[in-house]
């Protein structure tokens, strides 16, 4: 039996191999162009529309908060595109018949696949923030860029880990990649937000345990009162997520769904 040091070094190298292989696979596909383009176009719309037809908000925080209200959607889109088929694709297209009978622990393959989906999604988020930051500097000057933007970026990255985990879980659970992508997308885009809204507005209970509710922190950190949505006074929110609790919820989702996904994948393998 080889030494534990060699064993660990091998596992780390195998994980790295899977990550680089996954990245190579992702970067050859149109999904990269789609998500990276969205990461530039979406914040640009928030610059161009007020520039031509309206006025920019008074403060940089307001502008950033408005522009970044869509990073959540982009995280879900990119996460579904990159993680939606990482496992189900191996089963559906039977590429796993080549990949799994190799001298690697399946744990390292699955974790490598998760990280391989996480990296491009985080890159998409970073591009979105970079574009928004450039716009903020262009409109309000360099002094307008404050630590709220960094805070929001970090919260968005934590949310990215959980969104990718949820989609990864569906990818390991389902047979077909289109089903896993769609279910991952709609659970984050519709199912969880609907549950969250029902709890908030009908049951009037704070849905602190729902990750999409915690995702509100991405813009909440700017502490800007938004009047989106109309109605008297403009705002409907009954609850706002607690910063620390919200982040902890995101991390719990990340770990629970990731390891459930890995367990299911290992159990299922190429049955």
């Amino acid at each position: 039996m080889k030494s534990i040091r060699d064993d660990i070094a091998e596992d780390l190298y195998n994980t790295w191999l899977t990550i680089s292989f996954e990245l190579k696979n992702h970067f050859r596909r149109k999904r990269v162009i789609i998500s990276f383009s969205l990461a530039v176009i979406l914040p640009l719309i928030f610059y161009v529309v007020p520039k031509i037809w309206a006025e920019f908000p008074d403060s940089a925080d307001e502008f950033a908060s408005l522009s970044l209200s869509f990073v959540n959607l982009l995280i879900i889109i990119a996460g579904s595109l990159f993680a939606g088929d990482v496992i189900s694709g191996e089963f559906e297209e039977k590429t796993g018949l080549l990949l799994f009978p190799t001298p690697q622990r399946h744990m390292t393959i699955f974790i490598g696949k998760y990280i391989g989906a996480l990296i491009p999604t985080m890159m998409v988020v970073s591009i979105y923030y970079l574009t928004t930051s450039v716009e903020v500097i262009g409109i309000y000057g360099t002094g307008a860029l404050n630590h709220n933007m960094a805070k929001s970026f970090l919260v968005a990255l934590v949310y990215t880990t959980s969104a990718v985990s949820v989609v990864f879980f569906f990818s390991s659970l389902l047979q077909r990649k289109i089903t896993s992508m769609l279910l991952g997308f709609f659970s984050l885009m519709m199912i969880l937000p609907v549950i969250s809204n029902v709890l908030q507005f009908i049951v009037e209970v704070e849905p602190w345990y729902i990750v999409t509710y915690s995702a509100g922190l991405i813009t909440d950190v700017f502490a800007v009162t938004m009047t989106i949505g109309g109605g008297p006074g403009g705002q409907f929110l009954l609850f706002t997520p607690d910063f620390h609790l919200g982040l902890v919820v995101m991390v719990v989702y990340t770990l629970v769904f990731l390891f459930l996904g890995i367990l299911i994948s290992i159990k299922r393998r190429m049955r």
Partner: protein, 196 residues
């Protein structure tokens, strides 16, 4: 092929949401202070001419000075007036309450500005200044004069940079540990025996 439909649906849904949000948000112009004029059926030219705030969009906890200007364009001095502020704390419910009041006197053909200090709480607040006369002027009907303005107060910034960094480290730490764990578990004699 089905993937292509999926992308198209995603983009259309996204664009629809984006456009509706943009329309709502830019139409609403959240940063503007909204002034509401209540038309006075003036019989005599006396009333509140202005209601302003020291900051257009203060942060929660900041002290805001509310300026109320009363003008008297008549040729007579006005005796004691009573001034009342109404404050809306809750956006949805508009629960009014008396914020402050003051008895004032304003000389003929002059105006006077009164200041009130208020510690801002987050949310939208509607301030209404109401002026009415306690003195009785002979043969003259004196309506109330009022003016309202809405002030939007941003909540205090929440959170810090360290906690999300810590959370990211927790995620990557645990994922990293999961990569290393099998090498350790494989060497635990009890587990080895159990598997045999």
């Amino acid at each position: 092929m089905r993937c292509k439909y999926y992308f198209v649906v995603l983009i259309v849904v996204g664009m629809m949401m984006l456009s509706s949000t943009l329309l709502c948000s830019f139409q609403a112009e959240p940063s503007k202070m909204i002034e509401q004029d209540v038309p006075d059926e003036e019989v005599i030219d006396v009333g509140i001419s202005n209601l302003t705030f020291s900051k257009e969009k203060p942060r929660e906890g900041e002290n805001v000075t509310i300026f109320v200007t009363v003008m008297n364009n008549e040729s007579m001095d006005l005796g004691e007036l009573t001034f009342i502020d109404k404050v809306n704390i809750t956006l949805m419910h508009f629960e009014d309450f008396l914020f402050a009041w003051e008895n004032i006197t304003v000389g003929a053909n002059s105006s006077k500005t009164f200041e009130f200090t208020w510690q801002a709480t987050s949310g939208m607040h509607s301030f209404t200044a109401v002026m009415f006369f306690e003195i009785q002027l002979l043969n003259m009907s004196l309506p109330w004069s009022s003016r309202s303005a809405i002030l939007e107060v941003d909540p205090e910034p929440i959170g810090n940079l360290y906690f999300p960094v810590a959370m990211l480290l927790v995620v990557f730490g645990i994922v990293g540990a999961a990569i290393l764990a099998p090498a350790f578990f494989e060497r635990i004699p009890y587990l080895q025996q159990k598997r045999r």
